[in-house]
């Protein structure tokens, strides 16, 4: 069984709400919710996402495009749009997953581990919700370097997985001191091995309102770099029928 690549990226929903100025005495839960808002601005979104995987020498390995309908209650429908994956669809309802391959037009129930087949952790990074999936500890202030901007003082949070099924058991996360925008993260797997380092690109480095790109550097195997770009976001509530696993055989209207 070969499953599609980093589709989960889907969920990524990266949209973004303006992260407003926040309390002076930071509470970890508040900080995580605020950081999440820079990636997902609303409960119900349609997001066009592009993933570009670069080899160690900078050449392009592959490019994938996804249309993601991210809905409330951790529900997402992902449509693969790249030629190599055209027609594949993934439905995620909380921790339940289904896959549709175009050749047979049959929705398959898959396990959380099977959803990782392909570019495993890329997808999981995309779908994780820090506030819902992790418990955090504030380690203090540290200087950190944001993408495309000079070093500044950040909050350093250490996150531990709070539920099963997440790829990374521990995340070291640095967020902006004023708005709590995510700046960088070290992602550790179950063996406590550093798997990837993520950096977050925002729309306006001086006054960020949303994350526009996430760059993942693979620290384990192939040393490839994955760029997750959020091409467009719009509020969209999809009909409940679209979130029925058997509806995967249908073609939803993207307009």
């Amino acid at each position: 069984m070969k499953f599609a690549p980093p589709w989960l990226v889907a969920a990524v929903l990266a949209a973004a709400l303006p992260g407003g100025a926040l309390a002076q005495t930071p509470d970890v839960a508040t900080m995580l919710k605020a950081a999440d808002k820079f990636r997902a601005s609303a409960d119900n979104l349609q997001v066009e996402t592009q993933i570009t995987v670069l080899n160690a020498d900078g050449s392009q390995d592959k490019e994938r495009r996804y249309t993601v309908f991210a809905q409330a209650k951790r529900q997402s429908l992902v449509l693969m749009q790249s030629p190599a994956e055209k027609g594949q669809k993934v439905l995620m309802l909380g921790d339940d997953f289904w896959l549709l391959m175009p050749n047979s037009q049959r929705p398959l129930r898959i396990t959380p581990m099977q959803k990782l087949l392909g570019d495993a952790s890329t997808g999981d990074v995309a779908t994780l919700s820090w506030a819902d999936d992790y418990t955090g500890t504030l380690l203090g202030e540290e200087p950190c370097e944001a993408a495309g901007s000079p070093t500044k003082i950040c909050w350093h949070l250490s996150l531990a997985a709070a539920r099963k099924g997440v790829t990374y058991q521990r995340i070291e996360l640095w967020v902006g001191k004023a708005r709590f925008e995510p700046i960088k993260a070290d992602l550790y797997v179950l063996s406590d091995k550093l798997a990837k380092q993520a950096t977050f690109v925002t729309d306006k480095p001086s006054a960020p309102t949303m994350v526009t790109e996430m760059v993942l550097a693979d620290k384990v195997s192939n040393h490839k770099t994955t760029h997750v770009r959020y091409l467009s976001r719009k509020d969209r509530v999809v009909p409940e029928t679209w979130l029925n696993p058997m509806f995967l055989v249908k073609t939803p209207n993207l307009e």
């Binding site: 070969k2 129930r109 495993a120 249908k250």
Partner: protein
């Protein structure tokens, strides 16, 4: 809906035209702003170019090998050859079409026997209507049901061939469908082959089929029913359960009042060299089919699929024993001076047993292991039939690039001399397959 070759050609040309527009659109699109999927107006088009080389090794046992040994050239056997295909997909305005054009070049025993074939077909061509919770469609469409991988007792509409060497797009069935969806359940009613006559057999039979689906957390429940024009009623049920992060378990069962099959007339009618084929269409009564299986996936992206099934529509052990005895009897006739052409023809008829059902034997065990390692996926699988210890072993490796996929593999049949699989016409097939998506 059966399309004439002329209409198929028109639809194919429509797809081809759309693809040309697509290519033009791709050439002029700004990749930063335009999606990779290609849309022309409200039409969305895509496709795939495929090529495959297959190198079969003809078996030296079994009825076809015997037939050709008695009289060379009696039975056609598989020959090496290349296949090139173009698949074009177009979707828009409530219509979906998938068309395939194939060019096949097969080597023959001699240059004179080499074959070149060109053909085309519509995999799907249907209209659909979205009425919210209700969905309707009409045309030629793939409708696949059930939860198994190597065997699907409740694949009541498509009845897709399983365990092909390379997975390609199925060819749909003429259907009229009405479906209702809500958050956690779905109902489907399908009229399949609605215009076929009563003598159409197997997957071609006109039938009404229904499926009910219910999602209950980690469990998917399915119920099925079918009313065939001449086979009558059948009912079935299936379940898929995600038991843990790594394990999925599934089961499926079906009871059918009758199923189409083939059988050799029995008793004194079958004795000696015959002038007519003793293998005729038949119907089995009160047929049960059941499957249990599961998948396990490790975080290292190593996966195992295991399934075991009982297929009551396959020939029984007694029928295979009689088949083997008949093969031996015909071989003896060849040495006793019976006309070679008649004996060889009778032996060739014996190969009809292989197509009596989707399973050769009633009890089957299937195991597949695969490992995704970046762009590479090696896999090995074994189908084992306990009744005669037959084995079909496949090994393959797939490389997936950005748009190009290449795979190569080999499938071999083995077991003791009495195993049915050892007597299949082809003992081993090696293949290389490449496809490019656009």
């Amino acid at each position: 809906m059966l399309l004439s070759p002329k209409r198929q050609l028109r639809l194919f040309l429509l797809c081809a035209s759309l693809s040309a527009l697509v290519a033009h659109a791709q050439g002029t699109a700004n990749s930063e702003a335009e999606p990779l999927s290609t849309s022309v107006g409200a039409w969305d088009a895509s496709g795939q170019l495929r090529t495959q080389w297959a190198q079969p090794r003809v078996a030296d046992a079994g009825p076809l090998a015997m037939a050709n040994a008695v009289q060379a050239g009696t039975a056609v056997v598989a020959t090496p050859g290349a296949t090139a295909e173009a698949e074009l997909r177009a979707r828009g305005h409530g219509f979906t079409s998938v068309a395939t054009v194939q060019h096949q070049s097969l080597q023959g025993a001699s240059a004179q026997n080499a074959q070149v074939q060109n053909q085309s077909w519509m995999n799907e061509v249907y209209a659909s209507h979205d009425a919210g919770a209700w969905q309707f469609s009409a045309g030629k469409k793939i409708v696949s049901w059930d939860v198994g991988y190597a065997f699907r007792p409740n694949d009541l509409v498509q009845q897709e061939e399983r365990r092909t060497l390379v997975s390609t797009t199925s060819i749909g069935r003429p259907v009229l469908t009405a479906e209702r969806f809500n958050a956690d359940s779905a109902w489907s009613l399908v009229a399949v082959n609605p215009v076929n006559t009563i003598d159409a057999l197997g997957a071609q039979e006109a039938a009404l089929a229904a499926r009910a689906y219910l999602r209950d957390g980690a469990v998917d429940w399915h119920a099925f029913a079918r009313a065939g024009q001449h086979t009558g009623a059948s009912v079935g049920a299936a379940v898929a359960w995600v038991a843990s992060d790594a394990v999925e378990l599934h089961a499926s069962a079906r009871y059918a009042r009758q199923v189409d099959s083939k059988a050799m007339a029995t008793g004194s009618q079958i004795n000696g060299v015959l002038s007519t084929n003793p293998w005729q269409a038949s119907r089995l009564q009160d047929v049960a089919q059941a499957l249990v299986g599961g998948t396990w996936t490790h975080v290292s992206q190593f996966s195992v699929l295991a399934e075991a099934w009982w297929d009551g529509s396959a020939l029984s052990d007694d029928q295979w024993d009689a088949w083997g005895a008949r093969n031996a009897q015909l071989q003896r006739f060849a040495t006793m001076g019976a006309p070679a052409s008649a004996v060889a023809g009778n032996l060739a008829w014996q190969a009809e047993a292989f197509g009596a059902s989707s399973s050769l034997r009633r009890s089957n065990v299937f195991v597949r292991a695969s490992w995704v390692q970046g762009a590479w996926t090696p896999a090995v699988d074994v189908l084992y039939t306990p009744a005669d210890q037959g084995q079909a072993v496949s090994a393959s490796v797939v490389w997936q690039g950005d748009r190009m996929q290449v795979q190569a593999g080999v499938r071999s049949y083995g077991g003791p001399g009495t195993a049915v699989m050892v007597q299949l016409p082809t003992q081993q097939t090696a293949y290389v397959h490449a496809n490019w998506s656009f």
